[in-house]
Amino acid sequence: MSTEKYADYVQAVLKECPDADEGEIAEAFAKYENEFYIPPQDAMRSVLRRFQSGTSPATTGGSTATRQVKKVAGLSELSATDRDVEIEVAIVTHNVRDQLIRGEEKQIAFGMLEDNPWEENGQRTRWDYKDWGPHANLAAGSIVRIEGASVNEYNGKMSLNINQSARVVVLKEGVATPVASNDPIDISAIPKEGYICVVGRVLASRPDVIHRKDGSGSIDVVRGRLADDTGTIGFLSWEPFDHEVGTLLKIDGAQVKSFRDTPELNFGRTTRIEVYHDANFADLDTLNEKSLTSVSALRDGSRDVDAVVQITEIAKRTFNRDGEEKFLWSGQIADPTGRCRISLWDDLPFKETDLPVTVQIKGARVRAWQGIPDITVDNAEQMTVLEAPPWDAGMDLTNHAVEVDLAEVVAGPSRVGLKTSGMLVSVREDSGFIMRCTECRRVLRDGICSDCGPNAGAEDIRMRLVVDLDGATAAVLVNKEATLATLDLDVDAMRSKIDEIGEQGFVQHVRDQMLGRHLTVTGRSIVDEQGAMILADGCSMEVHDPQMRASELRAQWGWG
C-alpha cells in the first residue's frame, strides 16, 4: 500500500498532529479502506482522532424556553386577538377558489370547521375558516390539528385564519365521499361498508331461513352469489328474489356489510333490482370458471365458495354431543397457492387410502381457526373427485411452501405453507432457552403460566425476531430445530455458549450474526389486529455478493 495514495490526507492529518508518523497515518487510511470500505475522506475524522491525544468527556446542560403558543380545546376559549393558536378541529366543508390578492391570482380555501372533534354527539362550536396556504392536506370530513392559526373578528363574527406559515396535521383522514349510487362499480372494487350500485350475473341463489335470536320467529331470505369479470360477491336478500341463476342484473342501492373478513351485499326494500342487458357481459360458464377460489384467497366468513383442492391428509374424529355420537372428517388441503384445513360433516366420497385426492368443492363455507382458513363442507355431494389436478400433477403439495411477499403476508389472511423474506431488524431478548407450560405450551414467566398457574415447565428453544421489508413488518418465532440450524449449534453447544457469555451475551451474539441481514423463513402465518406473526419451521440467511448486486443495480438504473 503506497503512502502517496493518501498523501494529501496524510498531510491534512500531519497539520493537526505534527508528531504523528506519516507511514502510520497512511497505514490507518489503508486499513479503513481495505477492511471496511471506508474512503479516506470518510475515515479522516476517525484517523485524526486516533493521532490526537486522549480526550475526556465534557458535561452538558441545557434549558428550553417555551414558545408562546395558545393551545385550546374549544373555539369558545379564543378571543379576537389570539395569534399562534393550536387546536384540533373537524373540517366540515372545504372549498377552493381563486382570488386576486394584491394583483396576484392566488388559490385560497375556505369553509366551516367544528371544535371538539373526538366526542361523538358532543357539543360542537362551528366557525368559518379561511386557509391562505392553501394546505393540501385539508379535506372535508377529516380531523386535523392546526398549529399557528389566528383569530379574525368581523362584524362580531369570529372566524379562523389558517395562515401560510401554519401547520396542518391530519389526525384522521376524511371519510371518502360515498360512491354516487347510480354509477355501477366493479365487484372487486366493492368497499367493506356502504351503499353501492353493481351489475352482475347471478351465479347461485337458494332460499334460506334466518331464525330470530330471541325466538320470536323466522324470516325467509334468499342467499346467493353475483359475479362480473372482476370477481364474485355473496348476497343476502331480505325481500323476495326470484331471478334465476344466469340472469344479468343491475342492482342499485345494495348495502354492503362485512361478516368477519368478507363483504356481502344486502338487498332490502330500498334496493332497486332490474334485469340488465349487455351482450358483451361474460356468460355464466366463463364466470363459473373464474369464480373458483384459490386457497390463498379464502377468507373467514365466506360462503358459497367453489374451489379445486388436493386433500393431502384426512382423519375421522368422533365426539359426543348431547349424548349422541357424531363424527367429522378433518384434514389438510392444498393448491399451488397455499395450504389450509378442511372439515367434512358427512361420509368421505373416496377411500382414505387414496390420498392425495383432488376434489372440486362447491358451495362451501369458510371458517378460520387461529387465523387458518378451514373449508367447511356439510354434504359429501358438494364434493366431486377429479381424476387429476388441473395443475402439474408432479407437484408435491404436502410440503409445498408458496413464496409470498412480506407485504402480502402482513395484509392477511393467515396461511399455512408460506415462504417469505425480509430484513432482520430485531432479535428480542427472550430468544434462547425458554420454559413452556406442560399443559398449554404457553411460555412461562418466572415459572408461572398466565393461564394454568405455576408449572414445572418443559424446556424449549426459540428465537423471537422481527423482519421488515418495504414498510411491512412481521414478528417471527423460529422453532427449536430451525433456531439451532440457523445458528449452527446443537443443544449442548448452545447451553455451553450461554454458560460462557450469559443470556444477554447470547442474544448479542445472535444480533452480531443476523441483525440487518436478509432472512428467508418458511412456516405459517397468523394475522390479526395485533399484526402479523410467522411461526417459522425454517430460517436461513441470504448471502449476496455485493459486487454482483452493485453491478445489477447499475445496469437496472442505466448507470453502466
Binding site: 477492511e35 470518510d42 475524522r45 476517525s46 490526537q52 465534557a58 441483525l515 455485493p546 452493485a550
Partner: protein, 305 residues
C-alpha cells in the same frame, strides 16, 4: 385510517444525508402515538436501520445527573447523530460502553443499528434529527456493503416516486389514486423544490463503495488553506482555526448556540478550512472547555472564555 393501536412501526433504510436533511415531523394527538420524521423524498420514518463507521462515542452527563452516550455514525453520504441513555435497554448501554472503550483504543468499528428516529425543534424553529439505537452490532465490510446497496435501492425507489409525483395533482386524493404516499405530499408542501441530483451523486458514490471501488469513491481532499496564506476574507491574516471557530460561534449564537452543520459550512466556505479538520477541532475545543455543547450538535462559547 385505522391502525392497530400497538402495532410496531417498520424500519426503513435511509442514508445519513436524507435523514440528516429532514426538518419535517408528524405526530398523532394521542400520548402513545408514534412520532415520525418525514424526509425530503417523502419517507415517513419512526424507525430506521443505519450503518457506517462509528466515528465518535462519548459518555456525557446530563443536567439530571444521568449518563448518556452520544455518538456519530458515518456513511458515505454523511453523519447520523445518536444517543444512548438510561431509557435504552441494559444491553444497548452495555454495548455503548464496550464500543466507546474499543474506540478509545483506536479500533475502527463498522456498526449497524436499528434505531428509533428523533427530532428536535429549537425555539427559532430549526429542526434537527437524531437516532436512538435499540439494537446494534458490529459488522464486517460485506454486510456493510449489502446494507449500503439495500439503502441505495430504497432511496432510488423514493427518488423515482418523487419524480413521478411531479405529474400528479398535489391533493391527497390524486396521490392516493396514483399510489403515492400522503407523506410525499406533506414533504413537497414542506420542502418545496427538492433537487434530486445530490441524492443521485450519493447513490453513485455508495455503489462504488459497495463494489469495493474505493478509489472511484475517493474525493480529493478539499483545498487547504495553508497558514502562510492570507485569510480568504476579513483581512484577519494568519488567524488559526480555533480563533476562527470561536469567532464564528460568538457571532452567530442567538442564545441557543450554533449548529454543527452551520459552523462547518462557515469554516469551509468562509475560512477555507478542511471540514473534517474543523470538526475535529470542535471536539478539542469542547474538551478544553473553550466551547460548550448545551445540546447535542449545538455549540456556544464556553464558560471559560
Amino acid at each position: 385510517m385505522e391502525r392497530a393501536r400497538i402495532s410496531r412501526q417498520p424500519a426503513h433504510l435511509l442514508l445519513a444525508s436524507e435523514f440528516g436533511s429532514a426538518t419535517l415531523n408528524e405526530k398523532g394527538s394521542g400520548e402513545y402515538d408514534p412520532s415520525f420524521v418525514i424526509t425530503k423524498l417523502g419517507a415517513k420514518v419512526n424507525r430506521i436501520v443505519a450503518a457506517g463507521l462509528l466515528e465518535r462515542l462519548e459518555q456525557r452527563e446530563t443536567s439530571g445527573g444521568s449518563s448518556l452516550y452520544q455518538g456519530q455514525l458515518r456513511d458515505p453520504t454523511g453523519l447520523h447523530y445518536f444517543s444512548i441513555g438510561e431509557y435504552n435497554s441494559e444491553m444497548m448501554q452495555e454495548l455503548a460502553h464496550q464500543w466507546s472503550e474499543r474506540l478509545d483504543d483506536g479500533e475502527p468499528l463498522l456498526v449497524m443499528m436499528t434505531s428509533k428516529t428523533r427530532w428536535y425543534q429549537t425555539d427559532e424553529g430549526a429542526v434537527y434529527t437524531s437516532l436512538r439505537p435499540e439494537e446494534a452490532c458490529v459488522v464486517n465490510r460485506e454486510v456493510y456493503a449489502n446494507w449500503l446497496l439495500d439503502a441505495c435501492e430504497a432511496t432510488m425507489e423514493r427518488m423515482n416516486r418523487f419524480a413521478s409525483s411531479m405529474e400528479v395533482e398535489p391533493t391527497l386524493d390524486a396521490y392516493a389514486r396514483a399510489g403515492l404516499p400522503a407523506s410525499l405530499l406533506a414533504a413537497k408542501n414542506h420542502y418545496g423544490e427538492v433537487d434530486l441530483e445530490p441524492f443521485k451523486l450519493n447513490l453513485m458514490q455508495a455503489l462504488d463503495i459497495a463494489e469495493g471501488r474505493i478509489e472511484a469513491a475517493t474525493t480529493p481532499p478539499p483545498v487547504m488553506r495553508l497558514s502562510d496564506e492570507g485569510a480568504v476574507e476579513g483581512g484577519d491574516g494568519g488567524q488559526d482555526l480555533e480563533a476562527f471557530l470561536l469567532k464564528a460561534v460568538g457571532q452567530r449564537d442567538q442564545g441557543d448556540g450554533v449548529t454543527l452543520d452551520a459552523l462547518l459550512k462557515v469554516a469551509v466556505s468562509n475560512g477555507g478550512f478542511v471540514r473534517e479538520v474543523a470538526e475535529a477541532k470542535l471536539d478539542d475545543m469542547l474538551d478544553a472547555g473553550t466551547l460548550d455543547e448545551p445540546r447535542f450538535g449545538w455549540f456556544r462559547v464556553g464558560a471559560t472564555n
